[in-house]
Point group: C2
DNA sequence: GCTATTGACGAAATCGATTTCTTAGACTTC
DNA sequence: GAAGTCTAAGAAATCGATTTCGTCAATAGC
């Protein structure tokens, strides 16, 4: 790796001039040429570490997400990466496993690595952003919110829950159950409230046993669906408040040999790799990639010095029309 | 952010001593205490950028993969991340989209960021590792290989193809087709050769029309399966050489109302979010996470200075037993 | 008791860029 | 023509750690 000094020596100028050439300062055309020739001959690439030490900031942003294996978050990551790349930034992807300790460790790394900013989907309400915020590094919360004063991008979860439930009503179902996430988690809570609102307004009121709280994952949805099917008067349709639980619910239906032609399933989220006929499941598409892209844009604006008041952007989810083929 | 100088001033020692305390050099117990107290009071964290500039290397490794949204690669990434974290390394995840230009850009970034090493799944045979290798940075190829002299971790693809096909034979199918990837791509090529070997040995020879080349993706598998079903004598089973094409093939079967009880499907790869009964599809589990973990281990050994001869580790895929439930 | 060895630790160099001074020359302006 | 801008570009400081070198004192060895 050639340094700026070797380039300067070869070009017969000072290191300062070389730096100026690569940072768009005023340098005479003649020396510009000399420097560029020398740089090309030596295959010079500026040492980012030295630059970062001097400038006290880098072109790297940290993305902290709970689960890199969940397609929702990979799509989100993809959006962040695309946007970051357009501005010449790189993204460090950190998996928190929803573990506040891991999250904190990554936040410390972000600070001591002089990363330009952080996008995170907080593992808990108690995430400690104090250190990084007081350092003046911009932070954007994505998908979930935090009590700290930072920009945020989220989804209109209640509207998503409403849309999912309405779609089932419109398809003629009347005994609509809900498999919700753990109680107290903002995201799925809002989605489940959307379900309750629609069921109260359009249906025969909320049937006690039709609401199931489960963990976020496939096994949770599976167990909940089995329980619903075992009821004296089982539902004829179900809304699940995330993608993984829907997989589990569908699996339970297949096992119980309940044909999807007669049982309605709506998901808040997408089922990205689904071999079933897409018309058989209502998917409320969460704009995960867009979420990431928007978060990255906001972060980059802050990095560039934008000082406008705090913003929270709420994106609206879209119901897939029946028969629309998402994954192809 | 407190610096080493402020800590030194507060503790009444020289900056060198502070550095020594945090790098395990010989420092008297008394000064150790002074320094640690001062550091704690100032919430001192060493500036990684300064350290990196001085040491000419960082604790960051780059992971270049073609598609972050493919579950195979996210599992791989997960393995890399887990292993890296154990050694205090961070992972920068870079999406190449199988685009040699993007790949090259990321390799340059890895070099100029003083990253400790690179794990990559090369977009093409022509990937230019010359620059990074000549810099002395270790590189490990994962899942795919390169002509450059670097360590590699791959899967025994032929054995995987053989295992998938044998499983269908064992289940009683005799007209076994194959949906392979694009011709000339080493990975799926080997898997398809495994299929051919088994079909030749155990079956009635290779039926011309039973081999379909498709692109890697869902739509490719879908189209290929439709074509197979339209044959005069359609197959009674199919092997697909990757996960996404299997999704497409299954979708085509569902659309054509072919019950999976009568039509065998085997995949080289896993179908991570599948609502179908797992017993209905033979999955040859690719140890993606392990692949990542192994690659990270090898890279970390090289980073630590290991100079043993080049290694290629070949991992064996495992056939899921029918009924074994993978995703729950 | 006097020289060698060892160990703790401070002073200063170093990593490779950016940036602030400074200076020398060119160009206005009255 | 003298004084007052600009402008290009070099010298040197700076970012914050690590590391070499050298010093001084304490211990060991004879």
């Amino acid at each position: 790796m050639a340094t700026i000094y070797e380039v300067a020596a070869l070009a017969g100028v000072s290191p300062a001039t070389v730096s100026r050439v690569f940072n768009g300062q005023t340098v005479s055309a003649e020396k510009q040429r000399l420097v560029r020739d020398a740089a090309a001959r030596l295959a010079f690439t500026p040492n980012k570490t030295a630059r970062r030490l001097r400038k006290q900031s880098s072109e790297i942003i940290a993305l902290l997400i709970p689960d890199i294996e969940n397609p929702f978050f990979t799509a989100l990551a993809r959006g962040v990466e695309d946007r970051a790349q357009e501005s010449g930034f790189s993204v460090v992807l950190c998996n928190t496993d929803d573990d506040p300790a891991k999250e904190l460790r990554y936040l410390e790394i972000a600070a001591s690595e002089q990363m330009a900013g952080v996008i995170l989907s907080p593992a808990s309400d108690e995430v400690d952003l104090g250190a990084i915020v007081s350092l003046g590094r911009p932070v954007v919360a994505v998908d979930r919110t935090t009590p700290y004063p930072v920009d945020a991008v989220k989804i209109d979860n209640r509207a998503a829950g409403i849309a999912a439930t309405n779609a089932l009503f419109d398809a003629g179902y009347r005994r609509i159950a809900c498999i919700a996430g753990p109680a107290g988690i903002e995201n799925t809570e809002d989605r489940f409230l959307g379900w309750r609102q629609v069921v109260s307004a359009r249906g025969a009121g909320v049937h006690e046993g039709y609401l199931r709280h489960a963990n976020f994952r496939v096994d949770g949805g599976h167990a909940a669906m089995r329980a619903l099917l075992a009821l004296g008067t089982p539902p004829d349709a179900v809304v699940t408040t995330n993608n993984l639980m829907a997989i589990g619910a569908l699996r339970a239906l297949v096992e119980a040999r309940v044909p999807l032609e007669t049982f309605g399933v709506a998901v808040v989220g997408e089922l990205p790799f689904m071999p079933l006929d897409p018309a058989s499941v209502v998917q409320v598409r969460l704009p995960a990639r867009h979420l990431g892209r928007t978060a990255a844009s906001m972060l980059l604006e802050r990095i560039a010095g934008d000082a406008q008041p705090l913003r929270t952007v709420v994106l609206r989810a879209e119901v897939s029309r029946p028969g629309e083929d998402l994954a192809l």
